[in-house]
Symmetry: C3
Subunit: 435 residues, 3 copies
C-alpha cells in the first residue's frame, strides 16, 4: 500500500488544477470585462490593505497550529508536517468550495477575501486534526480535509446566508464546528489502549517549548483572526480591541486555575499552551459588538476558567467513559469556548450590544454548527475507518517513525566505561518502546 498516499496526493492536486482551470480567474478580469474604461484600482488596492491582517492569519495556520501540536515528544514531524500538507490542500479546496457556493456556481475571482476564506476553511480542519493527532494516517487526513471543508462550507452558508446570524470571529462556525467534528471522528477511530494512557502520548521538555511557539503566534495574532472579515472601520476596530482584551484577561484566569487544580499548586504546560487562547475563541462571535472592553475581559476570564476545568475534568471523562480520545484537548480550547462564544452573543444581543442578528438566529447558528459537525464527523469517521482505511495500528500511535525517516539516538556504553556514546540508528531500539 506504499503507493496509496502519493497517488491520492497527486490525484487531488490534478483535480485542484482542473477545477481552478475551469472556475477560477484573477479579480481584474471580471472588472475589465464589466467596466472596460475604469481602472481596477478599488479591489486591488483593498488587497494590500487587508494583506497584513491576512498574513497574521496565515502565520496562525502554519506556525500557530503547526507548532502548537508539536508538544508530543515523538510526533513533532507529523504535527508540523501533516499540518502543512493539510493546509496546502485545504487552502485550494476551501477557496474553491467557498467561492463556488457563495457565487452560486459562477466563476470565482480570486481576491484577498477568497484567500482569507481559504485560510478559515483550513483552520476548521486543523482544529479537528488536533482531536485525532497521532491516531490517523496522512491519507486519511487528506480525505478528511475534503469531506470536512464541504460540511464546513455548507454549515457556514446556512449560518450566514439563511439564519443571517452574526459570527464574525467564527466561534461557532469554525471553533465549535471543528472541535465537535474532530471529536466525532475520534470517537469512531477510538482504540481501547487509549483508555489507560498510551505510553508514547507524552510531552518532553523541548517539545513543550516548541509548542509554545505555536501558542504565542496564535495568541498574538488572534485579534487579526477575529477581525479579518469584519467591515472596515468601527467594526474591525472593535473586533481587534475586544479580542485583545479578552485574551489578556484569559491568561490571568488560566494561570490561576491551572495552579488551583494541581495538587501542589504548580502550573501545567498543557493548560498554558491551550487555555490562554480560549479567550480568543470565546469572544469571537461578539467581537464586533459593543460589549465594551470590560465585557470582553469578563468573557475572556470565563473562557480561561472553563478551558482549564475542561482539561482537568472533562478530558479524562471523555476518554474513559465516552470512549472519545481528544489528543490535543480541542474540546477545551475550541469546543467549550466556542459554545461560550455562541451563548455570549445571545447575552450580548439581549443586552442590546448588537442589532445585526437576533437571539433566536444565534441559537439556531450554534445548534446548526454543533449538529452539522457531529453528523458530518460521524459520517467522515465511518468513511475513514471502512473506506479510506490505513489507520496506524495502536502500538504505532503518536510515533513519527511510521511516516517519517527518523534517526533514533541511542546511547551505548563505551568499552572504557568512562563515557556513554551517542549513535544514530534507523530502527527504533527496543528499549525505547519499553514503558
Amino acid at each position: 500500500m506504499k503507493l496509496k498516499f502519493p497517488m491520492v496526493a497527486i490525484v487531488l492536486e490534478v483535480a485542484m488544477i482542473i477545477l481552478f482551470g475551469y472556475f477560477v480567474e484573477y479579480e481584474t478580469e471580471q472588472i475589465n470585462l464589466q467596466q472596460p474604461n475604469t481602472t481596477n484600482s478599488t479591489k486591488v488596492d483593498r488587497f494590500l490593505e487587508l494583506h497584513s491582517l491576512f498574513q497574521d492569519v496565515h502565520v496562525m495556520i502554519f506556525v500557530g497550529f503547526g507548532f502548537l501540536m508539536t508538544f508530543l515528544k515523538n510526533y513533532g514531524f507529523s504535527s508540523v508536517g501533516i499540518n502543512l500538507l493539510v493546509a496546502a490542500l485545504g487552502l485550494q479546496w476551501g477557496t474553491f468550495m467557498w467561492g463556488i457556493v457563495h457565487n452560486h456556481g459562477q466563476k470565482i475571482h480570486i481576491g484577498i477575501k477568497n484567500m482569507i476564506n481559504g485560510d478559515l476553511s483550513t483552520a476548521t480542519v486543523l482544529i479537528s486534526f488536533g482531536a485525532v493527532l497521532g491516531k490517523i494516517s496522512p491519507t486519511q487526513m487528506l480525505a478528511m480535509t475534503i469531506l470536512e471543508i464541504a460540511a464546513f462550507v455548507g454549515n457556514e452558508y446556512l449560518v450566514g446566508e439563511i439564519f443571517e446570524a452574526s459570527d464574525i470571529g467564527a466561534s461557532m462556525t469554525i471553533h465549535a464546528f471543528g472541535a465537535y467534528f474532530g471529536l466525532a471522528v475520534a470517537g469512531i477511530l477510538y482504540q481501547p489502549s487509549l483508555r489507560k494512557g498510551h505510553e508514547m502520548e507524552k510531552s518532553a521538555y523541548h517539545s513543550d517549548l516548541f509548542a509554545m511557539i505555536g501558542t504565542l503566534f496564535l495568541w498574538m495574532f488572534w485579534p487579526s483572526f477575529n477581525s479579518v472579515i469584519a467591515e472596515t472601520g468601527e467594526k474591525q476596530y472593535m473586533a481587534i480591541v475586544n479580542t485583545y482584551f479578552s485574551l489578556v484577561a484569559c491568561v490571568l484566569t488560566a494561570y490561576a486555575f491551572s495552579s488551583l487544580v494541581e495538587k501542589r499548586g504548580r502550573l501545567d504546560m498543557v493548560h498554558i499552551q491551550n487555555a490562554t487562547l480560549a479567550g480568543g475563541v470565546a469572544v469571537g462571535t461578539c467581537a464586533d459588538m459593543k460589549i465594551h472592553p470590560y465585557g470582553s475581559m469578563i468573557i475572556g476570564s470565563i473562557a480561561g476558567i472553563v478551558s482549564v476545568l475542561g482539561f482537568k475534568f472533562l478530558t479524562p471523562f471523555f476518554t474513559t467513559k465516552l470512549r472519545i480520545h481528544d489528543t490535543c484537548g480541542v474540546h477545551n480550547l475550541h469546543g467549550l469556548p466556542g459554545v461560550v462564544g455562541g451563548l455570549a452573543s445571545i447575552v450580548a444581543i439581549a443586552l442590546g450590544a448588537s442589532k445585526t442578528s437576533t437571539m433566536a438566529m444565534q441559537a439556531a447558528a450554534l445548534g446548526s454548527s454543533i449538529g452539522t459537525a457531529v453528523v458530518g464527523g460521524l459520517i467522515t469517521g465511518l468513511i475513514l475507518k471502512f473506506i479510506v482505511r490505513g489507520q496506524p495500528s495502536e502500538r504505532n500511535f503518536f510515533d513519527d517513525s511510521v511516516y517519517w525517516e527518523v534517526l533514533y539516538s541511542v546511547l551505548i556504553k563505551d568499552v572504557s566505561d568512562d563515557y556513554i556514546s551517542e549513535c544514530f540508528v534507523q530502527q527504533k531500539p527496543k528499549c525505547l518502546s519499553a514503558s
Copy 2:
C-alpha cells in the same frame, strides 16, 4: 501557601475588570459624543495604519523577550510562561495607568496608541524580569509588574511632559529604566550562592537555539519599536532607517569583540544573543533626529562593543563585588546601551541634529530615569522580600520544577546492558542535582 498565587492573579484580574468598567471606553464613543454628525473615520482609520507596526512590537514582547530568556537549560517554561503572564497583566495595567495619567483622570478611549503604550510599559517590566530571572516567584513578579509600571509611568510623564525631553525609542525611559530597576531588585534579592555560579545557571545547546528565536524577532522588529510612537512621515521614516543601520553595524562589532575577548577567539552565544541588539537600544533616543545613516552606524558600532565588554568584565564584577546578580545581563543589553543612547542624544543635539529638546533636558531625563529606577527598584525589592515574600529557596533557583509540572527524562541501564532506556519521572533524580 499554594492558594496565594491563584488568589493574587484572580484578585488582580477582577480589579482590572472593575477599573476598565469605570474608566475605559471605545475610541468611537468619544467622537460620537463630541461630533454627532461626523464619521469617526479619522482615528479608526489611523488604527489600521499603525496596526502593522504595533503587531511587530507585540511580537517582540511575547516571542522576542519570551524566547530570549529561554537560554537557561532548566528554566524555559518559566521564561516563556511567566513572560506571558507578566505581559498579560502589564498590558492591562499599563493601558490603564498610562491613560489615567495622560488624561488627568478622565475616561480613557482605547485606540492603537493606548495599546502601544501598554506594550511599552510591559517591555520595561520584562527587561527587569531578565535581571531577576530564576530567582523570583510568579506571585512576586505580579506584584513587581504593578509597582514597576506605576514608577515607569511616573518617570515617563516627568521626562515627556515636564522636561519635554526627546526619547522616541525610549533608550532612557524604558531600557535604562528597566535595567536599573531590575538591578536594584536583584541586589535586594541577592543570595550568597550566586557568587560562585549556581550549578543550574547553565545553558544547553538547544536552549541557546530557542533563545536565538527571541533574539532574531527582537532584532528584525526593533525599527518598529523605535518608530511606533514617532510622528508619521519624515520622523517615522528616520526612526526606522536609523535603527536599521545602527543594528546592522552593531552585529559586526559584537561578533568582532565576542571573538576578541575570548581566549581562543571563539564566539560566545551570550554575546550574540544580546549584544547584537544593543544597537537598537543605543540609537533609540535620537532615532528620529537627523544623525545620518553613518551616524547611526557609529552609535550601533559603539553599542555592540560596550555591550560585549559589559558581559565580559562588568557582569562578573557586579556579581562578586556589588552583590548584584543579573541573570540575563540586562545591564549590558539595556542599561549601558540605554545610557549610551541618552549621551548620544546630547551629542546629537550639540551637533544640531534636533531642535525639539535641549542638552540639559536630555541630561535631566537620563538622570531622572536612572534615579527613579534605582529608588523604585530598591523599594520594590524590599516589598517583595518582606511583604509579598515567597522567593524560591537558593537551591531551587533557575529550576522550572518548582512552579511547573515537569517530567524528567532519566536514563536507566537495561538489564540486558545493550541499551540504555529513557524513562520519565516526576521527581528530579538526585544525579541531576549533582554538579
Copy 3:
C-alpha cells in the same frame, strides 16, 4: 590567527561607515533640495506602504534562511549565527553596491527600495552559504559576501538594464545565481572525506524541528518576496496570488514524491523542509505575468517534483562524481527551480502572458545569471582557498565547537549505578567523535 576574524569584521564595518558617510543620505534631503516648497510626503508615505512586505522579506532573511540551515545536529549556532553576521554585512554592502550602480555613482538616498534591495542582495549570499555550510570559516564568509554581492549586482544590472528581461521574483538573478555561485565555491573547497558522508553531517530530531521554523516562515512569506519590487496595483496583486498558488500545489507534489522515492513510502524531512519551497522559486520570474492561477499551480507542481528528484538522484551524483558537495541541497531548492522559473517565463511569453520582455531576452538573462554565477563562484572559491584561507580542517566540518563556546553534555554513570548523570564539559568527549 585568532585576531584575523575580529580584525576583518572591524575593518569591514569601518569601511562601510566611511562609504555611507560619503555616499548615503536620507531620502528627504534629495527632495528638499530639488523642490524646496513641496512636502516630502510622497516617497516617505510610500515607505510605510511597502514596509509590511519589506518586513516579511526581512523575516525570511533572518529567521527563514537562518533556521532552515539549523537542521544539522551540531551546527545550529553557526547556521543561525553566521547567517546573522553575513546578513548584517550584506545589507550594508548590498545597499551601497546596488545604489551606486543604479545611481551611476551619484549619492544614494535611502528609501524602502534600497532596504529591500539590500535584503535581496543578501538572500543571494545566504543561498550560496547553504552550499558550503559547515565547511567554511566566518572570515571566509565575510569575504564571500563582499565578492558575491559585487558579482550579483553586476549580473542584475545586465539582466535588468541591458537585456531588459523580466524577473520579478528573481528566480534567475537570485535563486539560480546564488545556487550556482555556491556550487562553484563548494567545488573548489571540496575535500575527499565528504564523498562517503561525513560522520557529523547528520540531523537530529530537534534540529529538524528547528529547521521547520525556517521552512514555514519562508513558505508563508514567499508571496511577499516575489511581489515586493513589483509595480503596485495589478502587477503586485498577481505576483502575490500566483506565488501563493504555486506554493500550495508544490506542497502536494513534494509530499507525494518524497513518499514515492523512499523505499518504504515514508516521508523524508529533507524534502519537506526544502522541496515544499521550490514552487516559490519556480514561479518567481513569471509571478507578475498573466499565467492564471492554474498555470501557477502547474509550475508549482513541477517544481516540487523536480526538487525531490534532485535531492534523491542529483545530490549524490554531484557529491561522488562531480566532487561538488552541496550541504543544504541548494541546487534542488534554488538552482533547478530557478532554471525552471526562467524556462517557464519563456513559455509564458510564448503563450502571450506578458509583453514586457521577449523570449530571447529571458534566455539571455538565464544564461547570463548561470554563467556569471559559475565564473564568479570559481574565482571566489580560489580567492577563499588561496588568499583568505582559514578553512576548517576536514575533521572539524559541521562542528560548532570550532567557532563557538559549546558546553557538551556528557552522560556519566553514577557510582550507585542507578542513574546516569549529566555533566557539561568544554572539550568534545572522544566518544562523541567515534562513529
